[in-house]
Symmetry: C2
Subunit: 307 residues, 2 copies
């Protein structure tokens, strides 16, 4: 067992991220005592059955009692209300963190409820799968992934450092970023790709002339990469778009503009423009491979599936 | 060795698909003699070095001499010109096939050059990776994937059956489809997803406020699935869009329409509409997993990469 940066940790919300955090803490040999709470009784039952958390509590108030670190791992829209509920029960010096995909709105929702002497350190582990729920977590989810740390100028430096130490122990690399920049970066690398994937899958589902069966059978030609993203948790993503509205709409505008330019090139038969555009994008892919953020295995990195 | 449906096979164009076909034929123990030709001398040299094809020829005319099956595996825009070149050198009864991603335009480009007594059976193996070139191929590329067979009403039935037998031996499942329906299905499951992925990567590359380095570092949040698709061969994809213009523009119109509806829901804060849309798309994902066209492994099916 290694000395943990926080002796008592409370996980509020027990989905993919929180359950992965628990298993990663255990893997790291942290000697923290971990309590957990989820709003749904079924989720709490599943957590107890899986041995997820040292203690699963029936209320958030109970879970955060005496905690040195409280992690809010609920949909972005629920962060404010949950903070309001737990605020009177936090011990002085406690660090409250959260793992939402949007920062400016969350900071605005949480900060008014923050008691004197409690520190707030927003984080965003940039890792996930299309699965959700307490049984979706696994210890290696954050390995070699980035966890963005998004303090404000006045945030206690020691609290920020301890949160960074904690995430490093969970396998992640950390980087500090301000909230506005975070929300714009995430709109580009995550939010808009998800929205586009959802839309493409919706279009395929709508087309009467092509059966669902055909869409499914022939998905290996590119479409399945979209369905994978578009299987992510609907509540989480609804909240992301509602709370990162400005950046989302700005990037969507850029996207639509470029898509229209390519559509025009297709309509007018401008092969040179298409070829130049399609060539430029390869360099980014190479960069991602070199940075170790994906594999170069053939067949889109996926194993053959026997039926 | 098993008796091959075609004794002498000529592969014209030695990229990902043709090289995978060669290795799959060898894996199947087919006793065919396989000749190959590529326009680029560098590609022919690589093929000779890899042992790709029993004989690499310096001209298409030489490669197709005495062939029972000629497979055109060149970009869609080159199918007509290549057919014109080889036509005088085909033996009577020969089956010409091709593996392009678009069918109506290819059929119109190839058919006028078809000699009397030579059969034309268009096919489309729905498998690929983002890699291209003679060294990108591997024997299992087509395993459990669909190969669409797109004959016309008047096409010789025996030629069609032999092509189906051939693809089944290479590991694929076959299904017949008419050219118009093929082009619409592929616009949905492949062409538009690729165009969208290219566009999204282009947008990220363009944004001055977000560095390439940031885009690359944080790509695991969804973006990397787009970059994978957007690393595909630019010449192949240019030709696909130029030759499947009608279906591409129709589906693009549908896509933009739905995207605008979601953008409006984001702008007006209509959470119910977003949630309902994001819920609907999960069913399609489940269908794809049940059909064995993807894996359900976490972390988007990709192995951890150590740096």
């Amino acid at each position: 067992m290694s000395e943990a940066p926080f002796q008592k940790v409370a996980l509020i919300g027990l989905g993919l991220i929180a359950s992965s955090m628990f298993w990663a803490m255990k893997r790291a040999g942290m000697d923290s005592h971990v309590t957990g709470f989820a709003r749904s009784e079924a989720t709490r039952d599943t957590a107890r059955r899986l041995g997820l958390c040292d203690q699963v509590c029936d209320s958030a108030e109970e879970a955060v009692k005496d905690a040195d670190l409280v992690v809010l791992a609920v949909p972005v829209g629920a962060m404010g209300p949950v903070m309001q509920t737990i605020a009177p029960h936090l011990k002085p010096g406690c660090v409250v963190s959260e793992v939402g995909s949007v920062k400016r709105t969350v900071i605005e929702a949480v900060t008014p409820h923050l008691p004197e002497g409690v520190h707030f350190v927003p984080t965003h582990p940039m890792a996930g799968t299309e699965h959700s729920g307490p049984d979706a977590g696994f210890a290696s989810l954050f390995d070699n992934r980035w966890c963005l740390i998004v303090p404000e100028d006045h945030t206690d430096g020691d609290a920020v450092s301890r949160v960074e130490t904690y995430w490093t122990a969970l396998g992640a690399n950390t980087e500090r970023m301000d909230a506005e920049h975070h929300d714009m970066v995430c709109a580009v690398v995550s939010h808009i790709p998800h929205l586009i994937a959802y839309t493409m899958v919706g279009v395929a589902d709508d087309l009467g002339r092509i059966s669902d069966n055909e869409v499914i059978k022939f998905s290996a030609a590119g479409f399945r990469d979209f369905t994978r993203i578009a299987a992510s948790d609907p509540t989480m993503w609804r909240d992301v778009f509602l709370t990162n509205k400005d950046a989302t709409i700005e990037i969507l505008g850029r996207f639509t503009e470029e898509l229209m330019a390519l559509q025009r090139a297709i309509r007018t038969g401008d092969g040179e423009q298409l070829h130049a555009y399609f060539t430029r994008t390869r360099a980014i892919r190479r960069g991602i491979l070199e940075a170790g953020q994906d594999t170069d295995a053939p067949d889109f990195g996926r194993a053959k599936v026997d039926r």
